[in-house]
């Protein structure tokens, strides 16, 4: 799916993750930048999770920045889902 606009979700609070998404032009691929307070321990898992969610939404051309403050998996998935639906202009039931 093609992203429509820049979007973000999450916060810089502890146990949360901030996701920023920027659409890239066709065939530019995925440019993913992850930083985390637990990068050494969970960096690989975080990267795999981000790619899995992008796969689920069939997003191939994206610049994604993730700044993690020790979020659990359900939080990471939720923030990615929110940022992606916002970037796709598919968010529902909000005043955004």
């Amino acid at each position: 799916m093609e992203l429509q606009r820049n979007a973000q979700a999450g916060t810089f609070e502890s146990s949360d993750i901030m996701i920023l998404i920027e659409p890239l032009k066709n065939k530019q691929g995925r440019k993913i930048e992850i930083s985390s307070s637990v990068m050494l321990q969970y960096g690989d898992m975080l990267s795999e999770l981000v790619n899995n969610i992008l796969d689920k939404y069939e997003i191939e051309n994206v610049h994604l920045i993730a700044k993690d403050k020790g979020a659990l998996e359900p939080t990471i998935i939720a923030r990615l889902e929110t940022a992606i639906t916002r970037a796709l202009n598919q968010q529902k039931g909000t005043l955004l």
Binding site: A71, L72, P74, T94, L95
Partner: protein, 289 residues
């Protein structure tokens, strides 16, 4: 024995740290809030976060309720579409004013449940009374459906609706409190008191909880985990009360076998209502008799 609802702790729906720790605070019930605790431009974010948390986090034996937005807002329907399929223990519906809107809510919930092949008798509904009109209609609201198993009072919104100062002595909402309790008792459901907003005033919280207990509230909403122990203390019978309740039950059984319905303990009459209160005391203390 019914689920105890001495404390219902509000957890802001867009706060991952509090959502993931909800089960460890010791409250009887958690209120994952999609309504007032969430900014209007983060409603989608909170809804998706609560959905993922409900799918993954264990809240142990704590009852889990989700407060959705009202159906008159642009958020209410989407909240129900997302949360109802996950079947938390209860949905809390804010600003319930009429039976008509309660019927609309239940119709929507049951049509979502039908779509997902879910039963209609698992998840209950807590109707929140937060306006003068809601207070006037509370008896009808409480008796409308078996799914409504608790009525709660929202003191902040009620005082705003009545255009009065939310006095610390609660005088402005005292009639509403008592009408809500009476409606709940008449329908054998729980009545939950409003929050105590000054988290630093522990003595004030204790006094207000003692009053709420005295007039019949089953429990109290909580905005900070620090308030939980104080409310539980108020709602937990003292050793003297438990000893007396035991004596009453024991004497009642003995007299019943002898065909006597009314008797005295320490010069005070004991009849069926006193025995019922003794049973309630032992239930609160989680003691089998």
């Amino acid at each position: 024995m019914k689920t105890k609802r001495r404390t219902m702790l509000y957890i802001p729906g867009n706060n991952p740290a509090m959502l993931q720790q909800g089960g460890i605070y010791g409250a009887d019930s958690l209120l994952l809030d999609l309504e007032d605790a969430v900014a209007l431009n983060e409603k989608d974010s909170a809804r998706i976060l609560v959905k993922n948390m409900l799918n993954s986090i264990s809240y142990y034996n704590t009852e889990v309720c989700v407060r959705v937005n009202h159906l008159d807002t642009p958020f209410g329907i989407e909240d129900l579409e997302t949360i109802v399929p996950l079947q938390p223990d209860a949905i809390r519906f804010p600003k319930t004013e009429t039976v008509k809107e309660l019927k609309k809510l239940i119709d929507i919930i049951e049509s979502i449940e039908n779509k997902h092949n879910l039963p209609h008798n698992k998840m209950t509904i807590h109707a929140m009374i937060e306006t003068a009109l809601g207070v006037q209609n509370v008896f009808e609201i409480a008796k409308f459906s078996k799914r409504v198993d608790a009525i709660t009072i929202g003191g902040q919104d009620l005082t705003a609706d009545m255009n009065i100062v939310n006095a610390k002595d609660g005088s402005g909402i005292d009639l509403a409190r008592k009408m809500i309790v009476m409606a709940a008792k008449a329908n054998n459901i729980d009545a939950i008191d409003t929050v105590f907003v000054d988290v630093n005033d522990e003595e004030g919280l204790r006094l207000e909880t003692e009053y709420a207990k005295k007039i019949g509230f089953t429990g109290k909403a909580v905005i900070n985990p620090r308030q939980i122990d104080i409310i539980h203390e108020v709602y937990t019978p003292t050793e003297a009360e438990i000893r007396r309740a035991f004596r009453i039950i024991k004497e009642f059984k003995k007299n019943k076998d002898a065909g006597i319905g009314v008797f005295a303990i320490d010069g005070k009459m004991v009849d069926a209502p006193v025995v019922a209160r003794a049973r309630h005391t032992l239930d609160l203390a989680e003691i089998k008799y």
